[in-house]
Point group: C2
Chain length 218, copies 2
Protein backbone atom coordinates (compact mmCIF):
# COMPACT_ATOMS: atom_id res chain seq x y z
CA UNK A 1 0.00 0.00 0.00
CA UNK A 2 1.15 3.51 -0.72
CA UNK A 3 1.94 5.61 2.35
CA UNK A 4 -0.16 8.74 2.76
CA UNK A 5 2.75 11.15 2.69
CA UNK A 6 4.18 9.65 -0.45
CA UNK A 7 1.79 11.76 -2.45
CA UNK A 8 3.83 14.88 -1.93
CA UNK A 9 6.94 13.60 -3.63
CA UNK A 10 5.66 11.51 -6.50
CA UNK A 11 6.12 12.31 -10.16
CA UNK A 12 6.82 15.94 -9.23
CA UNK A 13 3.98 17.36 -11.26
CA UNK A 14 5.51 16.23 -14.48
CA UNK A 15 2.23 16.43 -16.40
CA UNK A 16 1.48 19.98 -15.30
CA UNK A 17 4.67 21.67 -16.44
CA UNK A 18 4.05 21.55 -20.21
CA UNK A 19 7.57 20.44 -21.04
CA UNK A 20 9.23 23.15 -23.04
CA UNK A 21 10.55 21.73 -26.26
CA UNK A 22 13.64 22.91 -28.02
CA UNK A 23 12.27 24.86 -30.93
CA UNK A 24 13.76 28.14 -31.91
CA UNK A 25 11.18 29.11 -34.51
CA UNK A 26 8.33 28.53 -32.09
CA UNK A 27 10.07 30.50 -29.37
CA UNK A 28 10.74 33.39 -31.68
CA UNK A 29 7.09 33.44 -32.62
CA UNK A 30 6.05 33.24 -28.97
CA UNK A 31 8.22 36.23 -28.19
CA UNK A 32 6.85 38.25 -31.09
CA UNK A 33 3.28 37.37 -30.14
CA UNK A 34 3.87 38.26 -26.53
CA UNK A 35 5.36 41.58 -27.56
CA UNK A 36 2.42 42.48 -29.75
CA UNK A 37 -0.07 41.34 -27.15
CA UNK A 38 1.66 43.26 -24.42
CA UNK A 39 1.91 46.43 -26.45
CA UNK A 40 -1.73 46.19 -27.46
CA UNK A 41 -3.05 45.47 -23.99
CA UNK A 42 -0.75 47.42 -21.71
CA UNK A 43 0.50 50.18 -23.96
CA UNK A 44 4.02 51.36 -24.55
CA UNK A 45 4.52 52.62 -21.03
CA UNK A 46 5.40 49.32 -19.44
CA UNK A 47 6.76 47.81 -22.60
CA UNK A 48 10.20 46.38 -21.90
CA UNK A 49 12.49 43.40 -22.11
CA UNK A 50 11.45 41.95 -18.80
CA UNK A 51 7.74 42.28 -19.45
CA UNK A 52 7.96 40.67 -22.87
CA UNK A 53 10.05 37.79 -21.58
CA UNK A 54 7.56 37.29 -18.79
CA UNK A 55 4.71 37.32 -21.26
CA UNK A 56 6.42 34.87 -23.57
CA UNK A 57 7.30 32.59 -20.69
CA UNK A 58 10.97 32.45 -21.54
CA UNK A 59 14.17 34.08 -20.45
CA UNK A 60 14.90 37.59 -21.65
CA UNK A 61 18.28 36.42 -22.85
CA UNK A 62 16.52 34.81 -25.78
CA UNK A 63 15.15 38.16 -26.86
CA UNK A 64 18.68 39.47 -27.05
CA UNK A 65 19.82 36.38 -28.90
CA UNK A 66 17.01 36.13 -31.42
CA UNK A 67 16.10 39.77 -31.96
CA UNK A 68 19.15 41.63 -30.80
CA UNK A 69 17.27 43.37 -28.01
CA UNK A 70 14.11 45.43 -27.83
CA UNK A 71 14.98 47.50 -30.87
CA UNK A 72 15.14 44.48 -33.09
CA UNK A 73 11.94 43.16 -31.64
CA UNK A 74 10.14 46.42 -32.33
CA UNK A 75 11.48 46.33 -35.82
CA UNK A 76 10.02 42.87 -36.24
CA UNK A 77 6.68 44.22 -35.09
CA UNK A 78 7.02 46.95 -37.67
CA UNK A 79 7.60 44.42 -40.40
CA UNK A 80 4.54 42.54 -39.29
CA UNK A 81 2.68 45.81 -39.40
CA UNK A 82 3.24 46.09 -43.11
CA UNK A 83 0.51 43.55 -43.59
CA UNK A 84 -1.87 45.33 -41.27
CA UNK A 85 -3.61 47.37 -43.89
CA UNK A 86 -4.01 44.49 -46.27
CA UNK A 87 -5.29 42.29 -43.47
CA UNK A 88 -7.69 44.59 -41.73
CA UNK A 89 -8.96 46.92 -44.40
CA UNK A 90 -10.80 45.70 -47.45
CA UNK A 91 -9.03 46.55 -50.62
CA UNK A 92 -12.06 46.77 -52.83
CA UNK A 93 -14.86 49.26 -52.99
CA UNK A 94 -17.32 47.08 -51.13
CA UNK A 95 -19.47 46.71 -54.19
CA UNK A 96 -19.95 50.45 -54.57
CA UNK A 97 -19.01 52.49 -57.52
CA UNK A 98 -16.74 55.27 -56.44
CA UNK A 99 -17.57 57.86 -59.02
CA UNK A 100 -16.07 60.92 -57.43
CA UNK A 101 -13.15 61.80 -55.22
CA UNK A 102 -15.68 62.61 -52.54
CA UNK A 103 -17.07 59.07 -52.76
CA UNK A 104 -13.59 57.72 -52.36
CA UNK A 105 -12.63 59.82 -49.37
CA UNK A 106 -15.90 59.14 -47.62
CA UNK A 107 -15.38 55.42 -47.95
CA UNK A 108 -11.72 55.62 -46.98
CA UNK A 109 -12.61 57.57 -43.89
CA UNK A 110 -15.18 55.04 -42.78
CA UNK A 111 -12.89 52.08 -43.43
CA UNK A 112 -10.01 53.66 -41.58
CA UNK A 113 -12.21 54.68 -38.67
CA UNK A 114 -13.58 51.18 -38.24
CA UNK A 115 -10.23 49.48 -38.71
CA UNK A 116 -8.53 51.66 -36.14
CA UNK A 117 -11.34 51.23 -33.65
CA UNK A 118 -11.02 47.47 -33.98
CA UNK A 119 -7.26 47.27 -33.53
CA UNK A 120 -5.84 48.01 -30.09
CA UNK A 121 -2.25 47.39 -31.19
CA UNK A 122 -2.49 50.00 -33.89
CA UNK A 123 -4.02 52.47 -31.46
CA UNK A 124 -1.21 51.99 -28.99
CA UNK A 125 1.34 52.55 -31.73
CA UNK A 126 -0.34 55.76 -32.84
CA UNK A 127 -0.39 56.99 -29.26
CA UNK A 128 3.26 56.07 -29.00
CA UNK A 129 4.02 58.01 -32.14
CA UNK A 130 2.72 61.27 -30.74
CA UNK A 131 4.31 60.78 -27.34
CA UNK A 132 7.90 60.00 -28.09
CA UNK A 133 10.50 60.41 -30.78
CA UNK A 134 12.86 57.52 -30.14
CA UNK A 135 14.45 55.44 -32.84
CA UNK A 136 12.11 52.58 -32.02
CA UNK A 137 8.91 54.45 -32.54
CA UNK A 138 10.23 56.12 -35.66
CA UNK A 139 10.67 52.74 -37.28
CA UNK A 140 7.15 51.72 -36.38
CA UNK A 141 5.77 55.00 -37.53
CA UNK A 142 7.47 54.71 -40.86
CA UNK A 143 6.21 51.20 -41.50
CA UNK A 144 2.68 52.24 -40.61
CA UNK A 145 2.53 55.34 -42.74
CA UNK A 146 4.10 53.55 -45.67
CA UNK A 147 1.54 50.77 -45.58
CA UNK A 148 -1.26 53.28 -45.24
CA UNK A 149 -0.06 55.42 -48.11
CA UNK A 150 0.17 52.35 -50.30
CA UNK A 151 -3.35 51.36 -49.46
CA UNK A 152 -4.74 54.80 -50.25
CA UNK A 153 -2.86 54.89 -53.51
CA UNK A 154 -4.28 51.51 -54.45
CA UNK A 155 -7.83 52.56 -53.63
CA UNK A 156 -7.54 55.88 -55.35
CA UNK A 157 -7.37 54.38 -58.80
CA UNK A 158 -7.69 57.11 -61.36
CA UNK A 159 -9.79 59.44 -59.24
CA UNK A 160 -8.34 62.89 -58.78
CA UNK A 161 -9.23 65.55 -56.23
CA UNK A 162 -11.13 68.61 -57.41
CA UNK A 163 -9.09 71.62 -58.48
CA UNK A 164 -8.58 74.34 -55.94
CA UNK A 165 -8.38 72.01 -52.98
CA UNK A 166 -5.12 71.02 -51.34
CA UNK A 167 -6.17 67.40 -51.01
CA UNK A 168 -3.01 66.30 -49.23
CA UNK A 169 -3.45 68.84 -46.47
CA UNK A 170 -7.19 68.30 -46.17
CA UNK A 171 -6.79 64.54 -46.05
CA UNK A 172 -4.08 64.83 -43.43
CA UNK A 173 -6.57 66.78 -41.33
CA UNK A 174 -9.25 64.16 -41.83
CA UNK A 175 -6.97 61.28 -40.91
CA UNK A 176 -5.66 63.23 -37.96
CA UNK A 177 -9.20 63.76 -36.74
CA UNK A 178 -9.97 60.05 -37.03
CA UNK A 179 -6.84 59.01 -35.23
CA UNK A 180 -7.28 61.43 -32.39
CA UNK A 181 -10.93 60.73 -31.86
CA UNK A 182 -10.35 56.98 -31.78
CA UNK A 183 -7.45 57.35 -29.36
CA UNK A 184 -9.39 59.63 -27.08
CA UNK A 185 -12.38 57.31 -27.11
CA UNK A 186 -10.21 54.32 -26.27
CA UNK A 187 -9.01 55.87 -23.03
CA UNK A 188 -11.91 58.02 -21.91
CA UNK A 189 -14.97 57.18 -24.02
CA UNK A 190 -15.21 60.76 -25.21
CA UNK A 191 -13.48 63.47 -27.16
CA UNK A 192 -13.83 67.21 -26.73
CA UNK A 193 -17.10 66.79 -24.88
CA UNK A 194 -18.55 64.38 -27.42
CA UNK A 195 -19.53 61.05 -25.85
CA UNK A 196 -18.17 58.00 -27.65
CA UNK A 197 -19.45 54.97 -25.83
CA UNK A 198 -22.15 53.10 -27.68
CA UNK A 199 -22.87 52.51 -31.33
CA UNK A 200 -25.22 55.44 -31.47
CA UNK A 201 -22.46 57.82 -30.41
CA UNK A 202 -20.20 56.46 -33.10
CA UNK A 203 -22.96 56.86 -35.64
CA UNK A 204 -23.00 60.55 -34.87
CA UNK A 205 -19.25 60.76 -35.15
CA UNK A 206 -19.28 58.93 -38.48
CA UNK A 207 -22.01 61.19 -39.79
CA UNK A 208 -20.06 64.25 -38.77
CA UNK A 209 -17.01 62.89 -40.50
CA UNK A 210 -18.91 62.24 -43.69
CA UNK A 211 -20.38 65.71 -43.45
CA UNK A 212 -16.88 67.15 -43.31
CA UNK A 213 -15.64 65.10 -46.22
CA UNK A 214 -18.62 66.04 -48.33
CA UNK A 215 -18.33 69.65 -47.32
CA UNK A 216 -14.88 69.77 -48.86
CA UNK A 217 -15.14 67.38 -51.77
CA UNK A 218 -18.84 67.59 -52.57
Amino acid sequence: MVPANAAVKIPLEMPVVEKRVRNRAATEQAILDAAKRLLAEEGFQNFGINAVARGAGCDKQLIYRYYGGLNGLVEAIGTDLGSWVTDRIPDDTGGMFLLTYGDLMERLSMLFLDALRADPLMRRIVAWEVSENSEQVRRLSEARSKALAGWIERMRGSLVPPKGVDAQAVNAMIFAAIQHIVLAAAVSDQCAGLALKNGKDWEKAATALKRIVRGVYG
Copy 2:
Protein backbone atom coordinates in the same frame (compact mmCIF):
# COMPACT_ATOMS: atom_id res chain seq x y z
CA MET B 1 48.62 67.66 15.71
CA VAL B 2 46.54 67.65 12.59
CA PRO B 3 47.17 64.71 10.27
CA ALA B 4 48.11 65.49 6.69
CA ASN B 5 45.00 63.97 5.22
CA ALA B 6 42.80 66.28 7.24
CA ALA B 7 43.02 68.73 4.37
CA VAL B 8 40.36 66.90 2.46
CA LYS B 9 37.71 67.77 4.98
CA ILE B 10 38.31 71.47 5.57
CA PRO B 11 36.04 74.36 4.57
CA LEU B 12 34.09 72.07 2.28
CA GLU B 13 33.32 74.63 -0.42
CA MET B 14 31.06 76.70 1.74
CA PRO B 15 31.05 79.79 -0.53
CA VAL B 16 29.98 77.86 -3.64
CA VAL B 17 26.76 76.41 -2.31
CA GLU B 18 24.37 79.36 -2.84
CA LYS B 19 22.83 79.21 0.59
CA ARG B 20 19.24 78.07 0.37
CA VAL B 21 16.93 80.34 2.36
CA ARG B 22 14.04 79.06 4.41
CA ASN B 23 10.97 80.01 2.47
CA ARG B 24 8.15 77.57 2.08
CA ALA B 25 6.11 79.56 -0.40
CA ALA B 26 9.10 80.02 -2.67
CA THR B 27 9.97 76.36 -2.45
CA GLU B 28 6.44 75.31 -3.29
CA GLN B 29 6.52 77.56 -6.31
CA ALA B 30 9.91 76.20 -7.33
CA ILE B 31 8.56 72.68 -7.17
CA LEU B 32 5.49 73.55 -9.21
CA ASP B 33 7.59 75.38 -11.78
CA ALA B 34 10.02 72.51 -12.02
CA ALA B 35 7.17 70.09 -12.49
CA LYS B 36 5.63 72.10 -15.31
CA ARG B 37 8.98 72.67 -16.96
CA LEU B 38 9.88 69.03 -16.73
CA LEU B 39 6.57 67.86 -18.10
CA ALA B 40 6.74 70.35 -20.94
CA GLU B 41 10.32 69.58 -21.90
CA GLU B 42 10.71 65.90 -21.19
CA GLY B 43 7.17 64.62 -21.47
CA PHE B 44 5.22 62.42 -19.12
CA GLN B 45 7.45 59.40 -19.64
CA ASN B 46 10.18 60.38 -17.23
CA PHE B 47 7.94 62.46 -15.05
CA GLY B 48 8.38 61.36 -11.45
CA ILE B 49 9.09 62.39 -7.91
CA ASN B 50 12.83 62.09 -8.21
CA ALA B 51 13.03 64.02 -11.46
CA VAL B 52 10.88 66.88 -10.17
CA ALA B 53 12.86 67.14 -6.95
CA ARG B 54 16.07 67.19 -8.93
CA GLY B 55 14.67 69.89 -11.19
CA ALA B 56 13.52 71.99 -8.27
CA GLY B 57 16.85 71.55 -6.50
CA CYS B 58 15.29 70.30 -3.31
CA ASP B 59 14.64 67.02 -1.59
CA LYS B 60 11.71 64.93 -2.81
CA GLN B 61 10.44 64.72 0.72
CA LEU B 62 9.23 68.30 0.35
CA ILE B 63 6.99 67.26 -2.54
CA TYR B 64 5.32 64.77 -0.27
CA ARG B 65 5.01 67.31 2.50
CA TYR B 66 3.75 70.24 0.47
CA TYR B 67 1.74 68.50 -2.22
CA GLY B 68 1.02 65.10 -0.76
CA GLY B 69 2.98 63.33 -3.48
CA LEU B 70 2.89 63.35 -7.25
CA ASN B 71 -0.88 63.16 -7.43
CA GLY B 72 -1.28 66.36 -5.49
CA LEU B 73 1.36 68.03 -7.58
CA VAL B 74 -0.36 67.05 -10.79
CA GLU B 75 -3.58 68.37 -9.37
CA ALA B 76 -1.87 71.67 -8.69
CA ILE B 77 -0.73 71.74 -12.30
CA GLY B 78 -4.33 71.14 -13.32
CA THR B 79 -5.50 74.06 -11.25
CA ASP B 80 -2.89 76.23 -12.87
CA LEU B 81 -4.13 74.97 -16.20
CA GLY B 82 -7.51 76.51 -15.59
CA SER B 83 -6.00 79.84 -16.43
CA TRP B 84 -4.32 78.56 -19.56
CA VAL B 85 -7.10 79.43 -21.92
CA THR B 86 -7.59 82.89 -20.51
CA ASP B 87 -3.85 83.48 -20.59
CA ARG B 88 -2.92 82.16 -23.99
CA ILE B 89 -5.97 82.65 -26.12
CA PRO B 90 -7.48 86.05 -26.76
CA ASP B 91 -11.00 86.31 -25.50
CA ASP B 92 -12.21 88.86 -28.00
CA THR B 93 -12.86 88.61 -31.69
CA GLY B 94 -9.64 90.30 -32.68
CA GLY B 95 -11.51 93.29 -34.01
CA MET B 96 -13.54 91.21 -36.42
CA PHE B 97 -17.24 90.95 -36.53
CA LEU B 98 -18.25 87.34 -36.26
CA LEU B 99 -21.47 87.41 -38.21
CA THR B 100 -22.01 83.70 -38.73
CA TYR B 101 -21.29 80.47 -36.93
CA GLY B 102 -18.80 79.70 -39.68
CA ASP B 103 -16.93 82.91 -38.89
CA LEU B 104 -16.80 81.89 -35.27
CA MET B 105 -15.56 78.38 -35.84
CA GLU B 106 -12.95 79.48 -38.32
CA ARG B 107 -11.53 81.96 -35.86
CA LEU B 108 -11.73 79.50 -32.99
CA SER B 109 -9.87 76.91 -35.00
CA MET B 110 -7.08 79.28 -35.85
CA LEU B 111 -6.75 80.52 -32.30
CA PHE B 112 -6.68 77.02 -30.87
CA LEU B 113 -4.19 75.83 -33.47
CA ASP B 114 -1.78 78.65 -32.75
CA ALA B 115 -2.18 78.41 -29.00
CA LEU B 116 -1.50 74.68 -28.95
CA ARG B 117 1.47 75.01 -31.25
CA ALA B 118 2.94 77.60 -28.91
CA ASP B 119 2.49 75.65 -25.70
CA PRO B 120 4.66 72.57 -25.17
CA LEU B 121 3.17 71.83 -21.76
CA MET B 122 -0.31 71.66 -23.18
CA ARG B 123 0.87 69.39 -25.96
CA ARG B 124 2.46 66.98 -23.54
CA ILE B 125 -0.72 66.86 -21.53
CA VAL B 126 -2.81 66.08 -24.59
CA ALA B 127 -0.39 63.32 -25.55
CA TRP B 128 -0.62 62.02 -22.01
CA GLU B 129 -4.38 62.04 -22.20
CA VAL B 130 -4.48 59.70 -25.16
CA SER B 131 -1.81 57.39 -23.80
CA GLU B 132 -2.94 56.59 -20.32
CA ASN B 133 -6.02 56.49 -18.19
CA SER B 134 -4.66 56.97 -14.69
CA GLU B 135 -6.31 59.08 -12.05
CA GLN B 136 -3.65 61.73 -12.49
CA VAL B 137 -4.18 62.30 -16.16
CA ARG B 138 -7.94 62.22 -15.75
CA ARG B 139 -7.74 65.20 -13.43
CA LEU B 140 -5.61 67.11 -15.88
CA SER B 141 -7.86 66.18 -18.73
CA GLU B 142 -10.91 67.36 -16.90
CA ALA B 143 -9.41 70.71 -16.02
CA ARG B 144 -8.30 71.24 -19.58
CA SER B 145 -11.59 70.37 -21.24
CA LYS B 146 -13.55 72.42 -18.74
CA ALA B 147 -11.46 75.51 -19.39
CA LEU B 148 -11.73 74.97 -23.11
CA ALA B 149 -15.48 74.52 -23.06
CA GLY B 150 -15.86 77.70 -21.02
CA TRP B 151 -13.79 79.62 -23.50
CA ILE B 152 -15.79 78.41 -26.46
CA GLU B 153 -19.04 79.21 -24.71
CA ARG B 154 -17.80 82.70 -23.98
CA MET B 155 -16.75 83.28 -27.57
CA ARG B 156 -19.90 81.82 -29.01
CA GLY B 157 -22.07 84.64 -27.80
CA SER B 158 -25.47 84.35 -29.38
CA LEU B 159 -24.34 82.63 -32.54
CA VAL B 160 -26.00 79.30 -33.23
CA PRO B 161 -24.95 76.53 -35.61
CA PRO B 162 -26.96 76.02 -38.78
CA LYS B 163 -29.83 73.55 -38.65
CA GLY B 164 -29.19 70.06 -39.88
CA VAL B 165 -25.60 69.96 -38.67
CA ASP B 166 -24.54 68.13 -35.52
CA ALA B 167 -22.25 70.94 -34.45
CA GLN B 168 -21.01 69.17 -31.34
CA ALA B 169 -19.84 66.15 -33.31
CA VAL B 170 -18.38 68.18 -36.14
CA ASN B 171 -16.56 70.48 -33.77
CA ALA B 172 -15.17 67.52 -31.86
CA MET B 173 -13.75 66.28 -35.15
CA ILE B 174 -12.23 69.64 -35.93
CA PHE B 175 -10.61 69.98 -32.53
CA ALA B 176 -9.42 66.40 -32.71
CA ALA B 177 -7.78 67.12 -36.04
CA ILE B 178 -6.03 70.18 -34.65
CA GLN B 179 -4.77 68.37 -31.60
CA HIS B 180 -3.48 65.39 -33.48
CA ILE B 181 -1.79 67.37 -36.20
CA VAL B 182 -0.03 69.59 -33.68
CA LEU B 183 1.09 66.61 -31.62
CA ALA B 184 2.37 64.75 -34.65
CA ALA B 185 4.21 67.82 -35.89
CA ALA B 186 5.84 68.34 -32.51
CA VAL B 187 7.50 64.94 -32.57
CA SER B 188 8.11 64.29 -36.26
CA ASP B 189 7.50 67.51 -38.19
CA GLN B 190 4.82 65.83 -40.26
CA CYS B 191 1.43 64.20 -40.14
CA ALA B 192 0.07 61.60 -42.51
CA GLY B 193 2.60 62.50 -45.14
CA LEU B 194 2.02 66.23 -44.84
CA ALA B 195 5.21 68.11 -43.97
CA LEU B 196 4.85 70.50 -41.04
CA LYS B 197 8.17 72.20 -40.59
CA ASN B 198 8.23 75.79 -41.68
CA GLY B 199 5.64 78.54 -41.68
CA LYS B 200 4.67 77.79 -45.26
CA ASP B 201 3.69 74.23 -44.33
CA TRP B 202 1.55 75.50 -41.51
CA GLU B 203 -0.07 77.98 -43.84
CA LYS B 204 -1.23 75.08 -45.96
CA ALA B 205 -2.51 73.23 -42.92
CA ALA B 206 -4.38 76.30 -41.70
CA THR B 207 -5.91 76.82 -45.12
CA ALA B 208 -7.05 73.21 -45.25
CA LEU B 209 -8.56 73.58 -41.83
CA LYS B 210 -10.46 76.70 -42.81
CA ARG B 211 -11.58 74.94 -45.94
CA ILE B 212 -13.04 72.16 -43.84
CA VAL B 213 -14.78 74.52 -41.46
CA ARG B 214 -16.26 76.52 -44.32
CA GLY B 215 -17.27 73.36 -46.08
CA VAL B 216 -19.47 72.42 -43.18
CA TYR B 217 -20.67 75.76 -41.88
CA GLY B 218 -20.49 77.86 -44.99
